[in-house]
Amino acid sequence: MNWFFHIGRYYIMMVRVFSKPEKWSIYRNQFVKEIDNLGIGSLGIVLIISVFMGAVITIQSAFGFESPWIPLYAVGVASRDSIILEFSPTIVSLILAGKVGSNIASEIGTMKVTEQIDALEIMGINSKAYLILPKIVAAVFINPFLIVISMFLSLLGGLIGGTMTGAVTSYQFIYGIQYDFRPYNVTYALIKTLFFAFIITSVSAYHGYYTQGGALEVGKSSTNAVVYSSIVILLFNFILTQILLS
């Protein structure tokens, strides 16, 4: 019953979010701000995690392939597929759900409990659209770039980590990541990224927007935003994988 209530309220909120903006120029400015806040602001964490995780995935793959029957370039193939199919689109999105999701929920939640959202409504502004739409559009626009950067950096991390530890030679790793490459895998990853970007921003905004109370409740909303957006991402990861790869 509670789930139905939240799904219904989320749907009603999204209808208002996608209604006609009061003034396009204001929304355009907000969109640019959100690109900076949600996208550029997340570059650092994406960079660090991608490089180190790429290195770890490569070393683990090499550890699993310690057999004379398996060519060493298979380490590159396995690392590439792990990174493109799952690590960059899903794991990085889950990390972004933590960083961006909590940021969105706490920002909107604080605005709610300090009556800033009431102030917008009284001015005649559709607060749901004004606050949430630029975030969704910005994330859906910028996250694919973040994920492509993550893929590149992870493979670079794999190359550096693999060669530094002697798990694989640079020639074999580069040969491996080019071997039997399927461009569709990148398309699949980017489709997932678009869905995940939408989920992170809209679910987090939902939790922030319906915060009631004070600072304690803002903290709870922030936590719920991360938990629920992560759960929905995992659910959609399963559904999209079944649809796109079956």
Binding site: D118, A119, E121, I122, M123, G124, I125
Partner: protein, 255 residues
């Protein structure tokens, strides 16, 4: 003029407003007073459309606000300025940007015109030097003044103030009260102020409505309030020892 007719409002079965009928006059400072929990803020939020009444209507110059759809309400909302208890300034914007915000959203003013208007409004509330500061960098009294400047920036017809004096020292409270009173006369707008501060009542109360347990118990001018027969209002007005002594003193001198 704003007319409130037969408003009922309840939350989870608990009745908060019961058959409220009251008229707020144009060009006057209309006060809603009452104890904490008497329903003042609920009435105000119902009037501006943040709460939907269970029944009854709020009428702005003959326009029934309660029956309107969201898009229709927008037009009336553009005529409303509101001062919230905590100011409700946008944290991410500077003082100047806060005041310019409604202008940028709803007018075709150029940026220079918006800045001129913001300068005028901030000067009107005696804040000439805080333009580039953020809300977190200014005092409570300054926040209230910025909120008033923002509320009047788009030349509203109606000004609502939710406890404008809360958290302020007596001197700043009087400044804010006087500012609201002067602006109401100057702009010829309908102002509705919620307060439980007796100083405000005696300073600016043109038309006072006393709310008691969700019902309008008494209405009148500030000069009539000291001579009221309402037991509930007397208990409210003369709650402090100071006011009791003041009443005894006035009675002693034949007032």
């Amino acid at each position: 003029m704003i007319e409130v007719k037969n408003i009922y409002k309840s939350f989870n079965g608990k009745s908060v407003l019961k058959d409220i009928n009251v008229t707020f006059e144009k060009g006057k400072t209309n006060l809603i007073i009452g104890e904490s929990g008497s329903g003042k803020t609920v009435l105000l939020k119902t009037m501006v459309g943040l709460f939907h009444p269970d029944s009854g209507s709020v009428i702005y110059e003959g326009r029934n606000f309660s029956n309107m759809k969201f898009e229709e309400r927008k037009e009336i909302r553009k005529e409303i300025g509101m001062l919230f208890q905590g100011g409700a300034l946008f944290d991410s914007l500077t003082v100047e940007e806060n005041v310019m915000f409604p202008l940028g959203m709803f007018t075709n003013m150029t940026l220079a015109e918006q800045k001129d208007r913001a300068d005028f409004c901030l000067e009107r509330v005696n804040l000439q030097t805080a333009h580039k500061l953020f809300p977190a960098e200014i005092s409570g009294g300054m926040k209230k003044r910025v909120a008033i400047a923002r509320a009047i920036a788009a030349s509203p017809k109606y000004l609502f103030c939710d406890e404008p004096n809360s958290g302020l020292d007596p001197k700043t409270s009087i400044l804010i009260d006087n500012l609201i009173y002067e602006l109401t006369e100057e702009l010829n707008i309908t102002t509705v102020v919620i307060t439980h501060d007796m100083n405000s009542v005696m300073e600016i109360g043109d038309n006072i409505s006393f709310l008691y347990k969700g019902e309008i118990n008494w209405q009148g001018h500030r000069e009539e309030i000291m001579r009221t027969d309402s037991v509930e209002l007397n208990n409210f007005v003369y709650a402090s020892e100071f006011m009791k002594k003041l009443k005894q003193s006035l009675s002693h001198h034949g007032y």
